[in-house]
Structure formats: structure tokens, C-alpha cells
Symmetry: D2
Subunit: 316 residues, 4 copies
């Protein structure tokens, strides 16, 4: 199996990928960004992509949500949770007190904001394209004094895994503001068999509303509520053609083969201008949903038999 | 065909029955009350009952609704509308100004209240078991002076049709307060084939709520709203075991074979402790319902095919 | 105080009235029907009316609901619960086995239906204008053999209190089908000070919907739900001008001086074509409502102060 | 007046600021990021900040929403719309065909994705901290051949206004994928008088839900719907303490002094764990909201007077 992911070595995404398939049994195809990882699957250059979809700090990952929402169909097959921590690493000889310019991916910067304000109050953000790009530059600098001089930063925020990978010097560890921060990754593949239900599954959807009124959002949520399907995530994304036009990215509790979920999906499909099914897959936390009275599969089957009796003129 | 109905000759119910089957082609089985007419069908003594179910003046007819809601299953096969008017008829020789005691079925009395207050302000109500019972007594009195003397009333409110049937003398015609008053009658039969959909049908249900909170009524109504099914009548009836426990009698627009109605029925069946289907039949006014976007049968069929593709791993 | 009520002596209504004011301290003004009792208050001939408004067997009492819903404003001041039982009484010398014709108010007949079917299967219903009218006739018959012969019935269903009042002979006691049946009575007066809140109150309303769609009923119920006000009774009554046009009679849990109830009332008044407030009064069962989070009076007062700060430019 | 904004000269934000106050009558205080601009107001170093809050391409601007949602209270005073276009500018002597590395703020990169894929298929993204940072470097390079050699990019996406400001050479104009793209900016100040209502206003809020169920979102939306207040934007942002816990950023149509908006705000304040009012201000498009029946200020005033009459015992 070939896995495209946000590389290079040492990223959080690699950490997620290692939970899915070890480097011994799979081909790792590092990419420069999330869009490229997903495109590699669409192009058939990779069998799967592993991409971040949601984090406690930032919410939905825009690039992932947008890449999945349009273009040729893809399917989410699995989710993986990775704790988010950062280590501050420096150029050789740098002391924390001397740090002036910190390279960091914008998401990393945001997640360490309070620590930075407290410990490096005057430090300036040097944006990086990934969490590990500055790690590679630091590793290069460790070997080449010229690289030190031309470096546009003197320290960087990197994932803990990158410290060993690149042989870096930690200045401070666990500097993220939220010690329980997590990022959720998904394994993306081409359309194909849906992973079988486990009893603790999630279904991911993209839904556009029939119009941009509050009432339309209410009506969409009622499609779920009336069949007893709960949501674990709902996020709006602009459709992009005008201010105020939104697409909703949704994680619903349950599996596409659940009767109640099937009826919700059909209801959305009938009433909304656009619904994309992105897959049903096991929840990483294995928490089964609370099934409301009358919404188990057996209840649907029994109700169908009852309706058939009514239609056949044999009530009760 | 044998038809049980609230007799005797001259009642509004007979007028409704004449719209269904002429006396030449059917056996008319007059009954003393609505409950008996319905019981005759359950007992197999009649093939059909014709009973009033709703009037502009009184709303739902309690005895009919209650008889249909419990006991062995029955089916509504057709509805018929009859204009409600009353004629004041008197004992021989009676002048309107002399009328002191007016025999009338309680519903008739209620529907002529304003006319009575204006024209017979001191008149007392002598309750009758039916609209035609006093007509028969008046006919008897016309032939027998002794009957005049022992009569407990000197005038009566009767249906226009009863005037000719019994050879009575009208004192005043069209005395009902509401000139556009109607009564809706239904033809009731044993369980059997549902009348085929005409595109302008009504479905009648009895539904108990899972608990007696306002929220439960809201949730029940949302089962209809979310599938775009409108209601033309909803009435509460006490379940009878405690104050505040109600059963709902409902007319919904559409036919049990409509996909959207089927899904509503299954939803109610799954979530409510008791749902009784009383039939789908053509609307007397032949008004087709407004079908909301995405709720036509074709939309359901297409959504089912789409869901099947999703479940089979072939989205879009 | 002068009390108009459905008389004569021995009625359930009298039993309710005795809970309100003893005959020693009040003037009892028996009336022939509920409408007359209410009219007596409107005319200033009585200070109060005591009328049945709801029963476990029949639900809302139509005549009461309709008399209160239109005409000059009145106010409900108190509610009283009376257990509903019936005693079968006969003409002198009558044995239960010989009973052929049973006088009974239609509501009494309905409430003893199963007992009658089991014990007097062939008995015919002779409708009475009240529960006690036949008791008076039986008392007369006990004294006068001629009255026995001309009687149109040979037994009657009467309230237990009437047996002693009229010196009657019980044939069978406690013949009502539902041993826990109750009737709820209300004390009606002219507009004036609302009874102070007790913490366990009820508010009675009449509401017409802006149109006859299911959505309009949903929207009306949401006015209550969104402010956390629960309903203990909701009944539809035809407005009377066309089939399918309904007025709703509602008992809501709480008092007009509750902040949440005030906001509900104003919301209904703003959105519905007609809202009539019929009063707030203590619940007979003294059960306090469950107050949802954020809906106590203090929450409203605090929220108002917060809003005032926002409007004044002093958020938080 | 001192205005903090995302500088330097030539940014879209400067273009927005020019709509608010000309450089002649105000002090422009350019900042390196949105957070700093907002912090300058909190610190008293600026009187106002002008910051992007929403764009057609990206939806809500995370940094702005998050900075406003927590920390000491601030107030939105005005909104300004700026069309979003980009010009591709190059180092002296660069031809479009030779461009390999393009400096661009990540949002700019995203908004020109299709154009870049079509015209510069192999180009690599060099992230910039702002839309104008690369413009300044290009201006420097134009004057200094050494700067050309050390440049990490050979072209940049910049706002049209930056071309003249920095004396740059356009390679291609209007390269944004969406010709009608807009960014919405807001003017932020310290708490103080709310701008008076104009009849076409917007109110911006941050709301946390009482729990993370779909039902809670439904209930929150019903607070708006039941008072007839429409939403023009609703976006979820993670609260940050756990996956699946969201805060909602909302623009509602209307002004805090509108009666209906006041009641919505109080309802949210009572039922939700956290509500922050961020201000009411005129809509840039001056479109007045559709006022539903019964929701104008006069309706609230009249309903309050009616309620006061009810409470005083003077119904109708």
C-alpha cells in the first residue's frame, strides 16, 4: 500500500500514519501539502492519503475539508488521533533568552501563543510551510556555519518526533498551551467498499443548504433530530461564490448502513441542493452512540413490516 | 351492500348515505346512534357504516372518533360533505310566537343558538336523541290529538330533508346561524384493500404521545413537517385514564402509498406508544396537496437508489 | 357572594361548589345549563359561576370552552377536582333485571357504557338535560303512582350526592367504568385582580393560529418550548366558519406574572391573530412545574440587566 | 484617531481603512498581524483596529474571530467590504514563464489556485506573513542586485493597490479565481456607545452551547427563529479544550436596540453558558431585513402594554 501524507519525516501526520501502517509494510510518500496528498490518491499515485481533518485548537482543517468537498469522490476509511505537543529547538549555541525569530507553521504558532507570550514576549513569527521544514533547516545549520548566518530564524517549534529524526537540541519541551490538545487524522482512499459497521462509527458529510436562511439550517438539523441521529461535529465553510453562502461539513454518529442514518441521508439528498457522502468508519474512541427509543435497526424493520400490512389492507 | 347509519329517514346521515348509494341499490339499516352503526360493521351485520366525523360547528364528533380509535380495526373508505341547515317545524296550529319548548338534538340546538336567542328568546331546550326523533313525534301528533296534548315540546329543529319525509309544517327555514356550515361524513368498512390513490387523498390516524409534555407534541408534529406532509385536522381526545393524557386524531394530506406518508407513518410507529391507521381515501373537495420540493414519490425512489450506491461504495 | 352553577341540588357541580363556598356563607343560584351559569356572571346576576371544564372521560367541556372563548371577557379564578361516580337508581319496585330505559345525561351514559353493556345489555338511553333531572322525576314518582306510569324511563344514572338529596333507592353503586375518573371545575368571575401566584399555578388561554397549516401549530408550540413553559392541556375547537379552521384551548404551567409566561403571552399576542387570556390560578393538585435552566424570574431579571448594559455600551 | 491595521501600505486592510478614514485625518498604525492590531486597541495604543473578519474564499478569519471571542471586551463599530483581486508581480527582468517560486500569503495562494495551476503549473508556494511583505522585498530588489540574488522567490501575489505603492512590475492582473470575491472588514473599538440603528444593521455574537448535542444547536437557532431574527453568518470554532466542543460565531440581522434582537439576546444569555455581544453596526450593503409579522418594535411595545393589562386584571 502506498500512503501519501504531509511529510517529511517527523510530522504529526507521519505519527498518524505510523498508527495505520508501519514503514516496513507500506510505502510512505511524503507530500508538501494536504492538497497534494489528496490529489495523489485521485491521480492513482497513492492508494491512501493520511491527512489532518480537525484539531482541538483550530477546528476543521480547511485545506482538507475543501479538497474532500469538491473534485472526484473519495472515501474516508478510518480516523486516528494524535496528541499535539511542540518542542522549541534552536540553532547550535542558542539560549532561550536570546531567541528573537521563531519559525513555526501558523497552526503551531497559534497553539503555543500563551507560552510564547510568557517566555519569549518579543519573539517574531517566521511562518513555515510545515512543522518540520524548520527542523530540516536547523539540521542543515548544525552542519554548516554559513547556513547559520543566512538563517531567517534562530529557533523553531517542531513536533517531538522531529527532535530525534533531525538530531536537534531541545530548548524547551511541551510548550503547547493545551496539554490535552489532539489532532484527528483520516485515512482517505478512492471510492470502494465501506468499512463494515462496528457499532461505534462516524459518518462524514458535506451538505449545502437550499437557501441561506437560518430556517434552512434548522430544517437540515431536524432531518437528523427527527431520526435520532446525533452530530459530533458541524462546521460551516463558505461556498465561495458570495458572502453568506455556506457549505456544512458534518460528522454524524453512526454508519451509513444504519437504518436511521440511511433515512437521514435520503432526507438530506431529497431536500438539499448538494449532499456528498464522505464515508462511514470506526470512531477512534470506540464510543457507541446512545440509540434513542424507536431508532434501532430492528425498529425500522418492524415499522416497515407494519406499513406493508397497512398498505395491504391488514392493519394491526 | 348493507349500510348502517344514524336513522331514521330524514337525517343528515341519510342524506350523506344517498350520496354514496341510492336506496334502490343498497340496503339501508337505520341505527339509533353512531356507536351502533359502527358496531354493526364490526359484528358483520352491515358491510358499511356512514357516520358523521366532523362538523364546522362542533369539530370532531366524539362518539365517532372514540368508536374508531379503539376496538377491532376498521377502515375509512370515503368521505362525503353535507351542508347543515335546519327547519323549525311545529305541532299543528302552532305559531312561531307561541313556541315555548323546542325539541332538538344538542348539536342542532348549538348550531341555531343565535337564531333562537333572537326569535324565540324564552324557549327551552328539550333534548332529542337525533335530529329526526321529534319529526316522527310531530308526524304522529298531526294524526292524533292525544299525542299533541302529551307532547313535551311544541316545535322542533329538523333537517330540511325530514320536512317532506314526515309531512311537516315549516315555521321557519334555514335557521342555522352559519349559512356555510357543513358536516363531514365517512364511510366505514372492515379492514381490506385501501382505496387507490387519486392524487387528492386524506389519511386518518390516531396517535398517542410517548409522554404528556408539550415537547412530545412538537416532536410528533415534526415527524410530519420534516417529510413535508401537511395536516388538515388535528384534535385531542382524552385517553380517559387521567386528566391531561391525550390521544390525537389526525387527518393528514396524502395517501398511505405515498412514499412521504409511509415514512411519516413508520416514524410515528417507531416513536409513539400507539398509532392506529384508519385509512386513506379521496378528499371530497378533490384538492391536491402542495407537494414540497424533494417529497414526491420519484424523489424518494431516486434517494433510495442513491443511498444504495453509497452503501455499495459507489458514491455520486 | 352569589354563585351560578349547573343545578339543581345533587349535581357534581354542586359538589364542586361546596368545595368553594358552603351554602351558609354563599347564595347558590342553580342554572339549567353551563351557558346560563356563565351568562349570569356576564349579566351581573351572579358574582361567580362554577362550571365543569374538563373530564377524564370527555376531555374539554365544549359548552364551557366555547362560552369562555368568545363574548365579553371573564376570568378563571380557581380550579376544583371532583371524583366522578354514578349510582343507578330506579322507580319504586324496579329490579335491575327489569330495567329497559335508562335516563342519563349523555356524558353519564358514555362514562358507564361498559357497565351498562355488561349488566343492562338491552337498555335504551333516554337523554336527560342534567345528571339530576331524572332524580327529581324519580322522587316525584315515588310519591305519585300516576307519575310512575307516565315516566319515559324506569331507572337513571345519578351522582352519588343526588341519592340522599332526593331520597332515592340505589340499584347499583359505583357503576362508572373508570374508578379514577375526575371532573375539573373552574370558578369564573368578571375581569379583576388575578389570584396571586402560589408557585403551582395554571394559565388558561384561547389561541387562534395565523393559518391552518401544520407549521403554524408547530410555530405556536415553539413559543412555549423556547421559553421552557410546559402545557398540561391543549385541545382544538373548530372556529366554526369552515372545516379545518381551529382554535386551541390551552392550559400552560405557570402564572401570568412569571417572566417566562409573560414572554410567551407576548409572543403569542404578536404572532397569532387572536389570543384570549382566561386567567392564572392555583393548580388543584399543587404540583409545582419543573423550571428549566435559565427560565426562573431571576434569570429574566438578570438577562434584562445584562441587555441594558450591552445597549449602554458596557458589555460583560 | 489612531487606527491599528494589518500593514504595511498596500494591503487590502489599508484599502479598507481608507474607506473609514483618510490618512490626512487619522494616524495609521500598521501592525504585523491581526492579533497585534486588536491588542493595540486593548492596550490603548490605538483607538480603533481595522481587521478582516470574513472572506468569500475562506469564510471567517480565524485569528480575528478568536481574538474577539476572548480577552477583554471589544466592540465592532462598522463593516467595510473590499473586492479581492491579486496582481502577479515579478523581480526585475522576470517573465511569467520563468516563475518558479511565488511568494504569497496563504489566503492569497488559495484564492488564485486555479489560475496558478493553469498558468504556473510547477510553481512552489513561498508563504508570506502578509500580502504586501513580498512587495516590499521586490521593491528592495529592484534597487539592489544583491537582494535579487538572495531572494527566496521570483514572483509574488499582491493586492492591486500594492503595485503602485511599491512601484512594481505587473506580470499578470486580476489573477484571483473568483472575480466577485470580497473581504469583509470590521472596525473594532473599546466598549462604548453602540452605533445608532439605521434600519439595516448587523449584530455579531459569540455563543457557546449548553452541551455538544445536535439538539443544543437546534435549540439555540430556535431562540432566533421564534422571534423572527434571521442569521447572515454562522460559523463554528472549536472551544479548544476537547474535540467536538464548539463555539459559534454569528451575525444576526438587526440591531441590539431592536426589541426582537433584545429578546433573542436575553434568551441566549439565559440558556447558553456563554454569550458575548460584539456589537451592532450598519450593514455595508444597506439591505434592510425582512421584518416578519408581529416582530416590529411597535408590536413588542403593544404586546407589553397588553400583558400589563392582563396582569392588572383588565383583559382585552
Amino acid at each position: 500500500m502506498r500512503y501519501a501524507y504531509l511529510g517529511p519525516a517527523g510530522t504529526f501526520t507521519e505519527e498518524a500514519l505510523r498508527q495505520v501502517a508501519s514503514p516496513d509494510e507500506a510505502v510512505y510518500l511524503p507530500q508538501t501539502d494536504v492538497g497534494s496528498a489528496i490529489a495523489a490518491v485521485r491521480a492513482g499515485e497513492a492508494d491512501r492519503a493520511v491527512v489532518a481533518i480537525e484539531s482541538t485548537a483550530e477546528g476543521g482543517v480547511t485545506a482538507t475539508l475543501d479538497s474532500l468537498a469538491t473534485g472526484s469522490p473519495l472515501m474516508l476509511l478510518r480516523e486516528v488521533l494524535v496528541p499535539v505537543q511542540f518542542t522549541l529547538v534552536g540553532l547550535p549555541g542558542t539560549r532561550t533568552a536570546d531567541v528573537r525569530r521563531v519559525a513555526a507553521h501558523p497552526h503551531a504558532w497559534v497553539q503555543c501563543r500563551r507560552w510564547l507570550a510568557a517566555h519569549l514576549p518579543g519573539a517574531v513569527h517566521v511562518p513555515a510551510t510545515s512543522n518540520t521544514a524548520p527542523a530540516a533547516l536547523l539540521a542543515e545549520a548544525a552542519a554548516d556555519p554559513a547556513a547559520v548566518r543566512s538563517s531567517t530564524f534562530d529557533a523553531a517549534l517542531v513536533p517531538p518526533a522531529a527532535v530525534g529524526t533531525y538530531g536537534l537540541v531541545p530548548l524547551a519541551e511541551r510548550v503547547a498551551d493545551n496539554p490535552s490538545a489532539l489532532t484527528r487524522f483520516v485515512v482517505v482512499g478512492p471510492p470502494g467498499p465501506v468499512p463494515p459497521p462496528t457499532g461505534a462509527d462516524k459518518t462524514t458529510l458535506v451538505v449545502h443548504l437550499p437557501d441561506n436562511e437560518a430556517g434552512a439550517l434548522l430544517a437540515m438539523l431536524e432531518q437528523f433530530a427527527v431520526r435520532g441521529v446525533n452530530l459530533s461535529r458541524i462546521e460551516s465553510r463558505p461556498i465561495g461564490d458570495a458572502l453568506g453562502r455556506y457549505s456544512f461539513s458534518i460528522d454524524a454518529e453512526g454508519h451509513v448502513t444504519d437504518e436511521r442514518m440511511g433515512e437521514v441521508l435520503m432526507g438530506l439528498h431529497r431536500r438539499c441542493p448538494y449532499v456528498r457522502f464522505l464515508g462511514s468508519y470506526p470512531r477512534a474512541d470506540a464510543v457507541a452512540p446512545l440509540v434513542q427509543v424507536g431508532t434501532a435497526d430492528a425498529d425500522f424493520v418492524e415499522a416497515r413490516a407494519w406499513l406493508d400490512r397497512l398498505r395491504g389492507g391488514h392493519p394491526a
